[in-house]
Structures are given as structure tokens and as C-alpha cells.
Amino acid sequence: MKDINLIRQPIGLRFSSYFFLIFWCIVAAFPIFWITVISVKLPIDAFNSNPLNVIFGPVTLTQGKGLSFIDITVGLAIILFTAKLTTGWLGRRVNKYSPNGYLWFGWIIGSMAFGISFIVVFFAIMPSMLSVLNDYAGELGNNIIGFSTQHYSTVWFERDFINNFKNSLLVTTGVVTISLTFGTLAGYGLSRSGSNLAFWILIIALIFRALPHSVLVTGYLPFFINSAEILRPIFGDAAPTLYGMPWATIAVLVAINQPFTIWMLRSFFQSIPSELDEAARVDGCSHFQAFRRVIMPVMWPGVITTGLFSFLLAYNDFLVTSMLLEAQNTTMVPAIVSMFNMETTTTDQVVAVAAAVSIIAPLFFLVMFFQRQIVTGLTAGAVKG
């Protein structure tokens, strides 16, 4: 008992550290909370000078759009339940049912099925069930907080944000796939080689990592605009104009991202003892088999962490996509920026806020699915962005 008292933090320290943590959480989360609140209110409420009116939205309520006590409870319960399922149950199911050696495939199928079923339950089944429930609930079924999804439907369907979403999906999938495929191979090779050449390649990668993105875009832009002319001798009349093609920006984003991916994966590979591949070689694996069957299975935390960083780079990118794509057909971030920069009414501004909130949602899903691997990955590797 005495020992426990000795190592326990003094009350004052504990109190101040909890206070600081909570304070920091509020400061960090407040902007996101606030734009989420704004995005579900009518413009009169959203830009009201009284903060309580912004939160409760009286004007939105008078139009009959709101959430009752039951709606809020059930919604929060479903969200918490989903979070709990993703962190434990889903992983166990995937581990149990995916065939040997195809765990990654099981994860892709499992997370997609899970995401789709969540969307169906949350946005289709739950609202219709709740509207029936609210009619019978009496006092508890009355709306207490203004809530309207009209800005979301405006931004996704009328403003064609779904097209931007598809472009983002294409670009991020391409960037993550290509940079991980080449990054693991290069990182493995460079971590196992002690030659001077490997060192100089890494130094060059470091310099490229440090270059601002605009420098690379300046190099690529003239080529992208004139690519039909330049590529004609090779492809004939089928030579494409790369400017304005979402899949063509994958090349530029991979070029920006690859140095960092290689550095990070190399540091992960270095933490795996080289005796492991020697043992695999002794047991009769070829070089590539040793890499694929022995090294890769213990590399998953590293691969997932690096993949997450590549994903974030492609997903958050503004400069490359806004320069190399046409304004009507870009990815999500440039689309939101152009929505905010237009000469707009207050309704348009709330619509832009709704777009900004909906860009956060996929990130939440991703972090929830991979949180355990991300934490192990972050503490295992040496290089952080």
C-alpha cells in the first residue's frame, strides 16, 4: 500500500494535468464542433450574434426541422455502438473469416460492408423508425434542437460535390496503392543495403522531401498542358492531354510523397532484425518470397501508418489538384476553397461549411478502423511527419 502512495502523483499535479488536458481538448475540438453545429442550421440561426441561438436554432425549429430528445439519444447510442464494434468485434470477425494470407483483402471487404451498412442504418432506417417513435412519445418526442440536413443535400446533389468526392477517391486510392507498392520495395532494399549508393539515394530523397510542392508543379504544368503534342510521336493521335485528368495528378502526388514514404518505411524495416530474412533464406525462400511471406506480415503496423500519411497527403492536397485540374472537375479540397471564395449569400456560406464538415467524415471512419495499428505504428517507427 505504501509503495502505491509513493508513486502516485500528488493531487495538485493530477488536478492540473487533467485540467490542462480537458482545456486542450476543448480548444482543439471547438472549431470542428462549431462548424458541425452551423452546418445543420438555417443561415439566420447559423450567423446569429447570440451563441445560444446558434446552438439551439429557434428559427430552424419554427420551420419544423429539429431533433427530439429521443432522436439525440438513439443517434448517439448508435454512433457509440458503431465505434465499439469497429474497435473490437470487426477486427475479430475479419481475422476469423478471411482466408489465410489474405487478411488485407478481408479488411477491405469487411470495412466496406461495415461502412455501407452503417450508412444504410444511420441515414435510411433510423430516421423513418424515429419519426414513428416520436409521434407516440408525447413530450419527449417534441423537437428541442434545430436540425436541418438541407445544406448537405444541396452540396452533395445540386452542387455536384459527389463528383469531387469520386475524384478524391480515385486520386487517394491511386496514390496510396502506388506509393506503398514502390515504397515497401525501396524501403526494404535501402534498409538492408549498407552501400554508399543507398546513402546518397536517401540524401537525395531527403532533398526532394524538402522541396516545396509548387516547385514540382511548376515543372509538371507545362508538360501536362502540352502533353498531347509532346506524346504524339509515341502514342499517335491517341496521345492524351494530361491537364484536367484526375488520374494524371496521381503521378505528381506520388512524386511528392515517395521520398517521405521511403524514409518512413526504411526506418520500420530497420527495426525488423535481418536474421529474420536470413532464416527465411536458409529455409529455402527466394529473396522475393522472404520479403513477401516473412517480412511483410510483421510490417503491417508500418505499412498502415505510412499508408495513412500518403492518404492524408493526397486527401488534403490543394496546390497540386487545383493547379492541374479544371475548376469544374477537381477534388474535394479545391472545390471547398472555391465555394468559400465565391461572392456569396449566407446560404452559400452555410453550404460551403456543410461541404467542409462532410470532408471530415471519411477521416473519422479511417481512424476508427485503424486506431490500434496506428498507435503501434507510431510508437514503433522512428520517422514522423
Binding site: 516545396p212 509548387s214 496546390l319 514522423k384
Partner: protein
């Protein structure tokens, strides 16, 4: 305080220098903040300058030559910033080989 500084520079090995490098570069090439807050009337960065040259004007022309010049200047700045860090990486590498 002097001791802490000394310790800091003494431990300026490859790992620390990499993190320092990342932070330095991110501060040097600040860009999205200028766009997000539309602060170009007061503060611009070299990246924003390049971006501005590259966007097409009302006539649809892009001043690619000027953009190349400003990106060359950015690259020179980056190289100057990089020299101490690269020196650290090189020394660390040499120590490991011996």
C-alpha cells in the same frame, strides 16, 4: 539554459535533424494558410508567389517563366536551410560506418 541548448545541439543526430528539417520546411513553404485566410494583401510566401504566377490570368495566360524563376529562388532558400541538417546526417552516417 545554456546547458540545455548545448545538450540539444549535441544530440543533433540524424533523427533529431530529420524532425527539425520537417518543421523548418513546413514553416518555410507555408501556403494553405495564405489561401485559407485570403491574406495575400498583407503576407505572401514564396510558394504562394509561384502559385499566383502559375494561375491563368484574365487572358488565360500563365507566366510560367516567372513561376520558374520564383521556384528557383525557393529551391536556393531550401538548399541553404538544408546544409547544416545534411551535414548532421553525413557525420552520423560516417560515425556508424567506422
Amino acid at each position: 539554459m545554456a546547458k540545455i541548448t548545448l545538450c540539444y545541439f549535441a544530440s543533433f543526430n540524424a533523427f533529431n535533424s530529420f524532425v527539425t528539417l520537417i518543421h523548418l520546411m513546413d514553416a518555410y513553404r507555408v501556403f494553405e494558410e495564405v489561401i485559407g485566410f485570403s491574406s495575400q494583401a498583407h503576407v505572401i510566401s514564396l510558394q504562394w508567389l509561384t502559385y499566383d504566377f502559375l494561375t491563368s490570368d484574365l487572358m488565360g495566360n500563365r507566366s510560367i517563366g516567372r513561376a520558374s524563376a520564383s521556384s528557383m529562388l525557393t529551391m536556393i532558400g531550401i538548399t541553404l536551410l538544408l546544409i547544416p541538417v545534411l551535414r548532421g546526417v553525413w557525420i552520423d552516417y560516417k560515425d556508424k560506418r567506422l
